[in-house]
Symmetry: C2
Subunit: 270 residues, 2 copies
């Protein structure tokens, strides 16, 4: 039962289903769910919402508690601050971290915690490096993810494309998304690995609009230092990277202070 | 305990750790593991290997049984055979499937089953569409995945690149992988969404060689019809897609017959 619920976050599983699957009375399933709910809460795994009544059942909503989230962000900062990650031009090498299942799981849990009570229908990113993050978040929200591309390929069918100004290089770029990939009226969470001026995220916002959908939020793994006003006003970042010519400074992003506000926190305590 | 093991496939977790975490005697932890082992086996979740002795513990090795694998492949074939997936030029639209967490989990479990007893140190793919599959397989094998790219970016640091002949277009192409991403002597599982002539997979094989590593295997989601000899002799495919100008034929790939041989099957029955 633990496995079944863990593998289907945000999905209501009926008591009847469990009762038939495990050939047990609904009352004993109910008791087991109560134990599970307590365990999930103690371990900080997530919320097990139980819905009473004939159409009732249980729904697992993963989240991460502030202390675990904070420890994870500190660990990532320690890793990224290693000397040999520094790249010419003030960049930081982080592809290895974003290819480790353990790191991706935690990133997914962190961002999904932000949407514990806000509906999200799809996660959107643009190729290439945002994909693993989008996939992991989509996993914890149990919704599909869609990938916009700079080069529209024949295997995508008809696409909708937008032009946008890439903030860091001030060039006009283009991104396209398959017409079939998003239903009108979707609430879309926009995700990327890195944001500087916010041009790319702005491009995705335009794409969402083209699909008659709305932006549920913007989340990035790391934000870079940026002088001036960003095209994107509201976003969540796990990290802030400030790189100069010979040194990189990695600090926590706005995630912890944005997410664990008293209002939200009381919800997470249910 | 179920959750802890499920989240860390292929990793040996010591009895001592569980005993401290749950403040229980090792003997009762042992009993619980025996129950869990039986449940995992009955449900076809995977193998719970228990290692006896002072340094002992338990290791969860996910796999999928033949009937569940076969049902999944049939379901995917049904989805892909829908009329409106047909694209000009004999292509099939399948990006939506490869953006659904449920489908990706199953693809990951299927391919990971093939490596239940063969060591894999890393999963490799090339941008863009193989990434979600590589990530899901890496998740079930609990190893990192690396992404080769056609355009080497500044954020990758120094790269190693190879040229290869793309089979379908007979063009010479290039792919590059960050120098830091793979340790020498790694056993690498090569993964892609689609293979026709095998040129791209061949490129990845050359890359693996450049990193003084060996190819543990090649797995693709779908293979296309190809006249002539492929550059890649051994591979596993979940699907075979044969598209003509006005019709698409999707059939099972060689997966089921390759994996569930009597020798392997007896191992899966432990």
């Amino acid at each position: 039962m633990t496995r079944y619920l863990l593998e289907r976050p945000h999905q209501l599983v009926s008591l009847t289903f469990f009762s038939e699957r495990y050939e047990s009375a609904k009352s004993s399933i109910s008791e087991d769910l109560t134990i599970l709910k307590r365990t999930f809460k103690t371990r900080g795994t997530g919320l097990l919402e139980t819905v009473p009544g004939a159409a009732g059942g249980a729904r697992f909503i993963p989240y991460i508690k502030k202390d675990e989230a904070s420890r994870f962000i500190d660990d990532v900062i320690t890793s990224l601050s290693e000397e040999d990650r520094f790249l010419p031009g003030g960049y930081v090498y982080m592809s290895d971290l974003l290819g480790r299942p353990g790191v991706l799981h935690q990133v997914g849990r962190l961002i999904a915690t932000q949407y514990v009570h806000d509906p999200v229908d799809a996660v959107m990113t643009v190729a290439t490096k945002g994909i693993p993050i989008a996939q992991s978040i989509a996993d914890y929200l149990n919704v599909p993810f869609v990938i916009a591309r700079h080069d529209s390929q024949i295997t995508e069918g008809s696409t909708v494309s937008v032009n946008y100004v890439s903030g860091s290089s001030s060039r006009i770029e283009k991104m396209a998304l398959s017409k079939r990939s998003l239903k009108p009226g979707s609430r879309v969470l926009i995700v990327d690995d890195f944001m500087k001026g916010g041009g790319t995220v702005g491009g995705m916002q335009s794409l969402v609009k083209e699909f008659d959908s709305t932006v549920a939020g913007v989340a990035v793994f790391a934000e870079g230092a940026f002088e001036g006003e960003r095209v994107v006003p509201n976003y969540t970042s796990l990290l802030r990277i400030h790189a100069t010519d010979d040194h990189v400074d990695v600090t926590p992003g706005n995630y912890l202070s944005e997410i664990y506000t008293p209002e939200r926190f009381s919800q997470l305590k249910d």
